[in-house]
């Protein structure tokens, strides 16, 4: 940073070392889990990977402001960083990757990346893009009707703003000042389609048209995202209404393990963005500010890797659900325990 500051950025945000390290660890866990998934994919042990890599700052920075199990989250398929910040584990991710019976999202019914946890109020995610936004608005409305201070985080990629659902939800949230934070992770591509063919104008600028604040933020700077999201969550909690956050970031992997991104983007572009990788970047910040030293870093990384390795072994050895599981549980039972 060129500007002189009397206090460090994290002090200005009232974030202590412990909290910084938690944030760091969430980011790292998401990353290492994802890396493991690609290994398993190459080993032929996992059919499909969809990655968070490059977007961990946007995800963890935003989710760190939520109260797990009280607030609600509507993540999208890249949001391992969000769900792991809220309490899902590497093991959960790897069980889902391999479609095992213990997969907390669906018991092996859904593809990986379709997060769900009733305990953590992570609402079962869909594949159809954008459907979560009206749902999130509804969930926020329930909080408002009961005069509770719950907040809803609804997340998606930049292409999730192109469909009607996003707009209908933005408008409704604006009409009723709902306690919802819209987080758009603009990672420049939607599969192969580059942003200029996807988004007219500016996503962040659209919020004004709905009468609430929109902020564009460097999505690879976890503290910047944290700050903006904190403001948004607090605003929502105070009953002042929604905020739209556009986190400008980049997808470091292909769209998924099925995608060959050489068809539509230059290697140089990826290399440029690798230099802005949010994890080394935050690491440098922590090192420079004396929150972490090389040794500490290696220790954390070692622990995270071990955890991921153990999770991976566990998942690999875990059983599939019994085959009858595919055919049951279509309807909730009337008069059931709910």
């Amino acid at each position: 940073m060129a500007m002189k500051q009397t206090r460090s950025r994290h002090e200005a945000l009232a974030l202590g070392a412990e909290e910084l390290l938690k944030i760091y660890r969430h980011m790292l866990s998401a990353r290492r889990t994802d890396e493991r998934m690609w290994i398993l994919n190459r080993q032929g042990k996992a059919a499909f990977v969809v990655s968070c890599q490059g977007q961990e700052a946007a995800q963890v920075g935003a989710a760190y402001n939520l109260r797990p199990g009280h607030d609600y989250a509507y993540p999208y398929y890249r949001d391992a960083g969000i769900v792991m910040t809220l309490g899902m584990t590497a093991r959960d991710q790897l069980l889902s990757l391999m479609g095992k019976g213990e997969d907390p999202n669906s018991g092996g019914r859904q593809m990986p990346g379709h997060f769900s946890s009733r305990e953590l109020n992570i609402v079962t995610a869909s594949a159809p893009i954008g459907v979560q936004f009206p749902q999130a608005a509804g969930t926020a409305l329930a909080f408002k009707m009961r005069k509770e201070d719950g907040v809803v985080l609804a997340s998606g990629g930049e292409a999730s703003t192109s469909g009607g659902d996003w707009h209908e939800a933005m408008n409704f949230a604006g009409v009723h000042d709902l306690p919802v934070v819209f987080l758009v992770q603009n990672n420049v591509y939607s599969i192969s389609t580059p942003e200029p063919l996807q988004v007219a104008g500016s996503i962040a600028a659209r919020a004004e048209g709905y009468g609430f604040p929109g902020v564009a933020v460097d999505g690879n700077d976890v503290l910047a995202v944290y700050e903006v999201a904190r403001g948004a969550v607090e605003r929502a909690r105070r009953g002042e209404g929604p905020t739209l956050i556009e986190a400008k970031t980049y997808r470091l992997t292909g769209h998924s393990s099925d995608d060959d991104d050489r068809r539509y983007r230059e290697r140089e572009e990826i290399e440029e963005w690798r230099l802005k990788d949010p994890i080394p970047r935050f690491e440098r910040y922590l090192l420079e500010n004396g929150v972490l030293d090389e040794e500490g870093r290696d220790e954390i990384d070692g622990k995270v890797k071990a955890e991921v390795k153990e999770a991976s072994d566990y998942a690999e050895n875990a059983p599939f659900a019994e085959s009858g599981f595919a055919l049951e549980g279509v309807y909730a039972v009337v008069g059931g325990k709910r």
Binding site: S106, R109, V123, T124, V131, Q135, A137, V330, V334
Partner: protein, 328 residues
């Protein structure tokens, strides 16, 4: 016991459930101050306030999607789609979302929402205020679809639908709203989702029908009885998905002759499923082919009255079909 029209019964079902359970709420276009374009929700906003009876923006996907999100967070919303013809924008949220939450989350999330949908031909309604769209929703496991015709059934089924932990699409035939009144027990009859009703017992043939056409079928059945001594059993599915196959097939086995009649465009309608089930399950008992009557495969009832006449199935066609069956 009170005597009510279909419209009043639905109104009372809503009001009753809202009084009994403060998580029950209503949302939709013009349901609040105006009390709905058909006046089904009249007076509810005065009683329950602007949030529990909420006028939404004109956005059907939002209405259905917000209902899902409300239900996930403790509410039991009843969404109104102003006309069945305007439900397509909500199709994704109903069919791909509400119907799938329970299964896809391995039973963790359930979606207790009800989507009320006025449907069917009314004179002057024309292309976009007349359609019978129920078939769109009857190929989606996870969803329940009901279509009651009589007041007591409607109030009872609405109460069951609201209490059901699954998403229920609730079809109301507009032309039946004020067609007749019927006694309805205080607090509503208990009418479970998933059970058909036999309106009229008979031994010679079976008519399976719902909506406005059911009223016509019942009239024709009486006529056949007095004029021809032919006794038609008239069965109303009440729940269109999943079907109460047992009741329908049993009746088919008893009479050996079946007509399925509804107002939907014939090809690809729910009548096809009913006919296919009967033809399969009651094959050995059938003395005649399973016949179907429906609207012709034309977009829908036209605006001009004289054109409209040629569109509806109508009592004469029902009578002709039943006589053909009887003589078979």
């Amino acid at each position: 016991m009170t005597t009510k029209s279909l419209l009043q019964a639905i109104h009372d079902g809503l009001a009753g459930e809202m009084r009994a359970d403060e998580t029950v709420m209503v949302l939709g276009e013009d349901v609040g101050r105006a009390g709905g374009v058909f006046r089904v929700t009249e007076g509810l906003q005065e009683e329950f306030g602007e949030y529990r009876v909420m006028d939404t923006p004109l956005a059907e996907s939002l209405i259905a999607g917000a209902a899902i999100g409300l239900s996930v967070n403790g509410m039991r919303p009843v969404a109104e789609i102003q006309f069945a013809d305007f439900i397509p924008p909500a199709f994704d949220q109903i069919v791909s979302e509400a119907a799938r939450f329970y299964y896809r989350s391995g039973g963790a999330y359930y979606v207790p929402i009800t989507v009320r949908v006025p449907y069917g031909v009314v004179p002057g309604g024309a292309l976009y205020h007349s359609q019978s769209v129920e078939a769109w929703f009857c190929n989606t496991p996870g969803l329940k679809v009901v279509a009651p015709t009589y007041p007591a059934d409607a109030e009872g089924l609405l109460r069951s639908a609201i209490r059901d932990p699954n998403p229920v699409v609730f079809f109301e035939h507009k032309r039946c709203y004020r067609l007749l009144k019927e006694e309805v027990p205080e607090g509503g009859a208990v009418v479970p989702v998933g059970k058909a009703r036999i309106h009229r017992a008979g031994t010679d043939l079976t008519v399976v029908s719902y909506g406005f056409v059911l009223h016509q079928a019942l009239e024709v059945a009486e006529k056949l009885s007095t004029e021809h001594g032919v006794e038609a059993e008239v069965v109303e599915p009440l729940t269109l998905y999943p079907l109460d196959r047992g009741t329908i097939v049993d009746s088919a086995k008893k009479t050996g002759k079946v007509l399925v009649a509804s107002e939907a465009n014939l090809t690809g309608s729910v009548s096809a499923e009913i006919a296919a089930v009967v033809a399969r399950e009651a094959f050995e008992w059938l003395d005649a082919p399973v016949m179907r009557l429906g609207a012709p495969d034309v977009p829908t009832a036209p605006f001009a009255k004289p054109l409209l006449e040629s569109f509806m199935p109508g009592a004469e066609k029902i009578e002709a079909a039943l006589l053909e069956l009887a003589r078979y």
